[in-house]
Symmetry: C2
Subunit: 160 residues, 2 copies
Amino acid sequence: MKDKGRLTSSLEDYLEAIWLLSRESKVVRVRDVARYLGVTPASVVSAVKVLARRRLVEHEPYGYISLTDKGVEQATQIYKRHTILARFFRDILGLDPNSAERTACILEHHISEKALTRLTKFLEFVEECPDATPYWLKGLHHYMKTGKRSVICPLRGKQR
Amino acid sequence: MKDKGRLTSSLEDYLEAIWLLSRESKVVRVRDVARYLGVTPASVVSAVKVLARRRLVEHEPYGYISLTDKGVEQATQIYKRHTILARFFRDILGLDPNSAERTACILEHHISEKALTRLTKFLEFVEECPDATPYWLKGLHHYMKTGKRSVICPLRGKQR
DNA sequence: TGACAATTTTAGACTTAACTTAATATATTA
DNA sequence: TAATATATTAAGTTAAGTCTAAAATTGTCA
């Protein structure tokens, strides 16, 4: 009966943090998450309660926090959104790594699955191009820097 | 002394709505905005009060709502974010128009100026290409649809 | 011109989200 | 086992965004 809906940005951040921490630490405690996100332990406890109600994490009182399968799946998805976005803004649009990261951190909570799929395919198209960096991408980056097109474009003429 | 900060998504929506309506109607009333956004007039009044405090709109009680220069500027910016994003997702990533619109409506509130600038340049690079649709873009779209690369890419070989 | 209709405004309340502090409870470990 | 670290709860704050219902204003037209 309950409508689940999407997690809020904040809850996604908690879930992502738990997932990230569990990749390095074997066990994750309230304290770790609190430190990582810069909030009080009390805030973590509330958030974990919500995540637990949604069966994304498991947590016995005073115990460790662990992700359920569903939690891992969702955290992975969030992180994937993050990395795809970061790669796009960094590698394609040439944003400096910091800005690309910051952009990804925000947009990862808002981009739709559909849009992400396309973005993913785009990156795939570029990064798995059989022969290194596609010529047009070099042209784009040149254009971003100088405002001028490389000669390749005009030369291709009239293929309407 | 007051920290202005950014508008919330909701307030941006109000500002954008006022701007859009004023492009077609000469004058904009509380009622119009309420209808357009699907909220009650009371909600519009509260929002307009905030926007007025920020000198983005002017509004004498019981009168019309008009944008200040600053308001126009900011609304234009929001709308630009919207259109750039919509164009990107529709024309480059090949999202259907509806999805592209919906995506733009959400992301327009979150994308940074820096990221938008790059996106803009990217579209410029593509859409103002001297000779129609760049070949690589056709290749991308072909790849999106079929998962297969057109022959052009392998042929370009080894330019590392 | 005066009353009715439409519109706007206010006041008050509700909901949700996210967070905090302070007090209490449980674990860990020296 | 007492001191320390950690976790939980309870209660409260702030903020945004909305609503309803009542009151105020304005516009219109018979």
